[in-house]
Symmetry: C2
Subunit: 302 residues, 2 copies
DNA sequence: ACATTTCTCTGACTATAGTCAGAGAAATGG
DNA sequence: CCATTTCTCTGACTATAGTCAGAGAAATGT
């Protein structure tokens, strides 16, 4: 498996990487080309460019200066914040960017062109699959303080989604509590998933000593669905629970959340009688955890 | 389609490319690391390194010097040719290379690790498919003089394969002729496929004025099989024939060449009565060509 | 209102990658 | 055997990418 991944890495960086660079950098240094592209047709704040391209501020400033000297870009002060500067493409800059766009199309065409219709279809399908799974593998899941902006953003999006999807709407105050303190060790635990620095999902545990622990706040951002992230959060929560000696996990959920219910069933949770009086719940689930042998080389994920 | 390819290119060069470079270049410049890797455990001639990595001779020399100064490489004169120098890894060089190897494994592991077993399997399968088809799209098919070393190499390998596979062996002199002149315009035509500069297959036409043209010398190197190259050569030969006003193509083949027979049938050739007395043939095929509309954006390939 | 922080810019560096011309030694073709 | 070619090396360059410290202007917290 590892061999195939390495072989793929080699093949792809040689063929795609080299081709890309060769085309995109015609005449213009790669750094400038990337920047030109990233500014986009609508213009973009310099600080956003800096974080997106992960460049030193001095270096970025110089790159902008050189694009400005070539008449491709105009940098002006932002109205909202006098410190912030916004880079905009000039007419020539837009033309240059369109040229880059055309070249990217050319690269793609040059890859497809030698293939038969069948091969093209298969290649495109396999590329979509690789891309999807690479994105999935880029998602990072880490323990997070409930007060962290990422956690806040997740909770807010989660509540808002529930209030749209539940027949009766959703008011967190009426639901069983899962306050910041309850989701902070040692009382509980919050896992937040991030993708490219943006929050993409969450899941939490509430411990109750020797009694079963509870799963709370399971949510995946719409943009990150279809990546198996829900399953991954659940697996990681279970691993955390096992590491803390928990032997039984419980959760309740609303009938409107079909995907979640499917996930819990597929992950080995069985439906049990109501074990609390959560007003928004229609289903209660429980799973007995396998104490497990501890970590190995590649961690076993179901 | 083109959009998916571009999206893939972006995703993969970011994720895989960046990760690769970050790991491989720890402490050592990328150029040196690549060179160290390419020298290999058995050592390699400097001129081979130059062509493989496509480096300027002065630059390569300097890179070797720096690796030599670090005690990783020893460069010595070749016995066979006093001008040629051979680079060999020292014990420390081999250790360093093993470290690079380990890091490559780490990159691969870090991609697989966050995924579930199912996802890993699917990713690896999709990677294999993308890799295979990218290789297929890297193959170049060009008209070639029959005297060119690539053509010579193909013919030799082709004859040698026939003599192994035919029950009665194979002697080109007894077979119907297809000499250099007969495969050179305007009498005929030879297409040779190359992959990374190595010959990977061939196919030829013999024209006979208004009479049907003949297909000859269809061969794909063992290393390049499974890439759809046979089909591609056949399609390109047909396109060349159409461009020269040919309306019927003919060919004969031996019963030992099962894949070829399958290819001809799948490509629309129908078996006909023997139209010549080729002693090695068991099957004769013929196809009426569609005059076709000429070139478009992405050429239509069947 | 004042200290602190944020944002961008400039100056002064360094490292890596790469190019080009030419020299010297060895092999090769006629 | 002599001219030519092949192979490698050195010296002298250039370009790209990037780092780091600090300065000045604007916003923000208290």
């Amino acid at each position: 498996m590892i061999g195939q991944v390495r072989s793929f890495n080699r093949a792809v960086t040689q063929r795609v990487g080299a081709l890309n660079d060769a085309f995109l950098s015609r005449g213009r240094p790669l750094g400038q080309a990337r920047l030109l592209w990233e500014i986009g047709p609508a213009g973009r704040d310099v600080r956003l460019l800096r974080s997106r391209l992960d460049l030193d501020s001095g270096y970025l400033s110089r790159l902008l200066r050189s694009l400005e000297n070539d008449g491709l870009v105009a940098v002006e002060q932002s109205q909202a914040d006098g410190r912030v500067r916004t880079a905009r493409l000039t007419a020539r800059g837009r033309a240059e960017r369109a040229e880059l766009d055309r070249r990217s199309d050319e690269v793609a065409t040059s890859i497809l062109e030698p293939l038969s219709a069948r091969q093209r279809t298969r290649l495109v399908a396999a590329m979509a699959e690789v891309e999807r799974l690479l994105v999935a593998s880029t998602v990072q899941v880490t323990a997070c303080d409930p007060q962290h902006p990422h956690a806040r953003a997740c909770f807010q999006a989660y509540f808002s989604e529930l209030s749209h999807r539940f027949d009766a709407g959703f008011d967190p105050a009426r639901s069983i509590s899962a306050g910041d303190g309850e989701l902070t060790p040692p009382a509980g635990l919050l896992l937040v998933a991030t993708l490219h620095g943006e929050p993409a999902g969450c899941g939490a545990l509430k411990f109750h000593g020797d009694a079963p622990a509870e799963i709370k706040r399971m949510w995946v951002a719409p943009a990150a669905r279809g990546l198996g992230l829900g399953r991954r959060l659940l697996t990681d929560l279970e691993a955390q629970a096992v590491a803390r000696g928990v032997s039984i996990l419980r959760l309740e959920t609303n009938r409107a959340l079909g995907e979640a219910i499917g996930l819990y069933r597929a992950a080995g949770y069985r439906e049990v009688a109501a074990f609390n009086d959560e007003p928004y719940a229609h289903h209660w689930f429980e799973k007995t955890l396998d104490p497990g042998p501890g970590p190995a080389g590649l961690p076993a994920r179901p």
